[in-house]
């Protein structure tokens, strides 16, 4: 089943890439000038991709191993939590700044990964400060300071 979904997505994606290339095709329809037309090269790749996707689809069906998809709800829930936390963290780093956002993220993510709340609370701030020192001070990589604190500066 996974292979069928994969191949359908691949074929849809490559078809989209092929037809979307029309929007930036500098030369009028039907021109296959590889050197001058920026649309030709992406189209070549999209075509090969579509054909290989079709081969994958056909060979999977021919093998006849089409089984249903099984999703473990517990596992899926945990992964979803991490994904949502990551999304919030990326936005949070920008708005709240590195130290605050990372501390909050660490506390919650450690608990999602199965750590105890005590460990999470004790460890988060020192780890955050440690990362800050390593990046900002040792490697001089600039870290976000947080938009809401912009009045401060």
């Amino acid at each position: 089943m996974k292979d069928i979904i994969t191949s359908v997505i691949v074929m849809a994606l490559s078809a989209f890439a092929y037809f979307n290339a029309e929007t930036f095709s500098l030369i009028k329809r039907g021109t296959w000038n590889l050197a001058k037309n920026p649309a030709v090269y992406p189209r070549m790749i999209a075509t090969v991709m579509f054909v290989l996707g079709a081969i994958l689809l056909i060979s999977t069906i021919m093998k006849g191993k089409v089984k249903g998809l099984q999703i473990d709800k517990g596992i899926f829930g945990n992964i979803l939590k991490v994904v949502v936390l990551m999304f919030l963290y990326i936005i949070g780093v920008y708005i709240l700044g590195f130290i605050l956002a990372t501390t909050l993220f660490m506390i919650s993510v450690i608990m999602v990964f199965g750590g105890k709340i005590k460990t999470a609370l004790i460890v988060s701030l020192p780890v955050t400060v440690g990362l800050y020192v390593i990046f900002q001070v040792l490697f001089s990589v600039p870290l976000p300071l947080g938009e809401i604190f912009s009045f401060w500066r």
């Binding site: 050197a35 090269y41 060979s59 991490v82 460990t119 490697f139």
Partner: protein, 529 residues
């Protein structure tokens, strides 16, 4: 300067200052720790830490990442010997004899021996790298546009072939990478492609963010599957790691040197075959030693050769894998594929031109690899006691730190949220790909090789001026290298259709690891090789 002149071995010294040596040390240490911790891979460490090197000199940054690469190859043996869990796949054979030896009360000898053999074999592989890469590069320098397209296709098909899962899916992943590489400005006409009206997309998608998402975040998502049931029962053998220096007396043994030579040569050769890495080398050399031994039954019960052979082989792979990277710009394994990205970040393109434009960097890489291997011995002999304690760090904290590094690293590319968001999308995509058994490394390689391939293909098309077929045939006739390269590519892509068995692929090893080192599956594995 001639490529194989002696200068190549010395001019790098000007770039090696105290700070660079410190970076190499830090890199090797991080690598050893990452290697020792099961669940953290060298691929993840290198991709997540590329942004850390932004502020460094090119030599410092690249050598630090190479240190991680070397260190991780060795570090896997620490957990293999102490908790019977190989920290990296390539240490899988080390655990067969390393753990029994530790149980006999000699963990120091086991860990010391793996450090010593890793270092000796690593140094051997640097020498072969320095000897064989320059002539190969000299040949590759004559490549013109069509050959370069051939090189890119060859690299992509090799990584698609070697990655776990079907070659077809690997090729699809590679094509997807090539397609993503076309996003943004077209280099020759400055026309925007697939930007969907977004300003940020004009520069295309940074492969660093794709890399960190695919190898950093997605692996952490996979770790989240375990959730609250993560392995809390990790128990170290509660015997102090003493007398790591005991291994040094083997330096006097003629037999030991023979084991070293055989395993190192196997390692270098397997490493240099693009795509096959340390795991295969370790298995092959272990098998060879077991076959040559007078009393094979000692193996699996703490035989010293059983540690020396696989550790020597998997570490000499580093130099072997670096050879096609430096000489042709083709990665020898998935970590070196990511290292290409690190080179590009620092404005360098690995490949034959590097010998002409930046010989001092090439030279510094040779010297840095030597230093890194020596550091490995020092860390192994003096520090393994402390590193083994890191195995007790709770997994949730480590996962949290790595996820933070993913966001930090991508944010620091251009100080913008856009790259972090790209990382996020690729992270989710990478996880889905893991579940669908589609290899991830070809995407990154496609994104890295894409621009070079397009540029050369279109330059060639410009020369051909519509007469594609006749110029193609003409090039094939006049230049045998192109024909060989394209024929090899075609062979790699077509071969799996006729034979179900992949040689040098990592699939078999996964099976072996899953069966927990069961004797029969191991014998089966040896017969395949």
């Amino acid at each position: 300067m001639r490529l194989n002149s002696m200068d190549l071995y010395v001019i790098g010294w000007q770039l090696i200052d105290l700070q660079t040596i410190l970076y190499i040390f830090v890199g090797t240490l991080i690598g050893t720790v990452v290697g020792a911790l099961p669940g953290l891979s060298a691929m993840m460490a290198v991709s997540v830490l590329v942004p850390v090197t932004y502020g460094m000199t090119p030599a410092g940054g690249i050598l630090m990442l190479l240190g991680i690469y070397c260190g991780a190859n060795y570090g896997g043996s620490i957990s293999a010997c102490l908790i019977n869990v190989p920290g990296t796949p390539s240490a899988v054979m080390t655990s067969l004899d390393g753990y029994p030896l530790s149980q006999k009360g000699k963990p120091g000898l086991a860990i010391g021996m793996s450090a010593l053999t890793s270092t000796v074999a690593g140094l051997f592989s640097v020498i072969t790298l320095a000897l064989f890469a320059p002539p190969l590069a000299e040949m590759a320098l004559k490549f013109k546009s069509l050959e370069l397209v051939g090189v890119a296709l060859f690299g992509l098909s090799v990584i698609a072939y070697i990655s776990p899962g079907s070659t077809l899916k690997g090729v699809l992943a590679g094509l997807f990478g090539l397609l993503i590489a076309t996003m943004g400005f077209d280099p020759s006409t400055a026309q925007a492609r697939y930007t969907f009206g977004s300003m940020e997309m004009l520069a295309g998608i940074d492969f660093i963010s794709a890399m960190i998402g695919l190898f950093g975040m997605s692996e952490m998502l996979a770790n989240a599957e375990v959730g609250k049931n993560y392995n809390k029962t990790t128990k170290l053998l509660n015997i102090g790691i003493k007398s790591t220096f005991e291994c040094l007396r083997y330096l006097k043994s003629y037999k030991w040197w023979m084991v070293m030579m055989r395993s190192s040569i196997i390692g270098v050769i397997v490493g240099a075959i693009p795509g096959s890495g340390g795991t295969v080398a370790a298995i092959v050399s272990y098998g060879v030693e077991k076959r040559l031994a007078k009393d094979p039954s000692r193996f699996g019960r703490g035989a010293i050769e059983g540690i020396a052979a696989p550790e020597a082989a998997n570490n000499s792979c580093t130099g072997g894998a670096m050879t096609p990277l430096l000489a042709l710009g083709i990665p020898g394994d998935s970590v070196t594929a990511i290292l290409i990205g690190a080179f590009i970040v620092h404005g360098l393109v690995p490949g034959p031109m590097l010998y002409v434009t930046n010989p001092e960097i090439v030279s510094a890489i040779y010297i840095g690899l030597v230093i890194s291997n020596i550091m490995m011995l020092i860390i192994g002999l003096f520090g393994s006691h402390h590193i083994s304690k890191l195995l007790l760090i709770p997994v949730p904290i480590l996962n949290g730190i790595i996820l933070t590094l993913c966001v930090l690293g991508t944010f620091s590319i251009k100080n913008s949220l856009f790259d972090s968001m790209c990382m996020f999308i690729f992270g989710v995509l990478g996880y889905i790909m893991m579940k669908a058994k589609i290899p991830r490394a070809p995407i990154v390689l496609g994104m890295i090789l894409g621009p070079m391939m397009e540029e050369n293909l279109r330059r060639w098309a410009d020369i051909a001026d519509g007469q594609y077929l006749s110029l193609f045939v003409q090039t094939l006739m006049t230049n045998p290298v192109t024909s060989v390269m394209l024929a090899a590519t075609a062979f790699i892509l077509v071969a799996p259709i006729f034979s179900k068995k992949k040689y040098f692929a990592e699939d078999d090893i996964d099976k072996f690891v899953v069966t927990d080192g069961d004797e029969s599956s191991f014998n089966e594995l040896l017969e395949i090789k």
